[in-house]
Amino acid sequence: MRVVYEISGKYDKPARCGGLVNSSIDPGVTYQHSRIYEFTFEGDSAALESFVRHCLFDEIGQVLTRDPGTPPGLSLLLEVGMKPGSLDLEKEAILSVHRARPESGFTLSALRLRQRYCFFGQVTESTERRLVRDLVNPAIQTHTLERSA
């Protein structure tokens, strides 16, 4: 089975992209950031959700969404993850936590992590190139871009 969780900040609001990039950028473009955890597993899906809630999620400051869609008003969706074969320390840490819980009730066959950036406003091709250049390290990361229709 495969299930996707998105974890985002409960208090996050669309913010100007100046905090993301290394030089000034169109102030009309805003973004929201979240983390995507894609699990391929066998076993009890309730046990998996319990694991996610205990190990990856903080109910005071975060929002957990299963099988997330895209937010209204989205202009551009950028997702960044590690290249297959690159050492993904966060993934290894999560797998290590799972291995330490042999009674977890599920078996993980794959875990894929991505940083998700949702951009709002008029994102020009030039701005898009800037965002990708500053947010993606092509030596070790891969990314997907999706423009809203």
């Binding site: 900040g9 208090y11 990856l56 903080d58 005071i60 400051g61 320390l89 966060e90 936590v97």
Partner: protein, 240 residues
Amino acid sequence: MARPKALLFKFPGTNADGETDRALRMAGFLTEVKPIAVVDPSTLGDYRLLVFSGGFSYGDYVMAGRLAQLEIERRLGSAIRDFHGAGGHLLGICNGFQILSKIGILPPASLISNVSGRFVCRWVPLHRVARNNPFLATLPDDFELPVAHAEGRLVTPEPEDAAEYVRTGLAALTYGDNFNGSTASIAGLQDASGRALGLMPHPERFIDRHQHYDRDWAAAGHGWGHYLFQSIHDRLAASA
């Protein structure tokens, strides 16, 4: 007077243990710095103070302090809560505060990304709210310390909880300049007994007055941070 013993936990990514160790020793503690992997939970009773210092434990992966919390649960079980319940003292600084807030000893709160979305490194004015805290006993009501964090904005389960923490003194410290957007400007929390304190500012980085940005600073004989370590040392030494 017997020198109280302090244990300073080290996780992969902890980077302020050297400064904190020095600050503790300067105040008179006998300190040991131990990686979490070699801490024997049955020995925690040998210490009077457990310290979680600053840094980026486990690279701040997942969220700051979470993986350290899980590793503490796995390796030490309830030993830290038992230590606290038996009258032990705990101090968490910056990433250590993030860890302490997650292991359930401090009042419910989380430290999330600064409202600016950026890492902030600067000095901040602070106000001492708690009157009974043994870590703050010799500090004035208003002082300043350096901060350096990306996830220091304190939020509570309900916004009104933060006002209650300030009213009751569980909010041990507040910012004079709420640069990170913390609810009710809270910079540090204590438990109801005052024996556990977590704070985002770095007292260990201002133990000598020459560490102040104003070279002529002479408001006290040492930097303000020294008085935090001195306060808890003196309290523990007196109660040995």
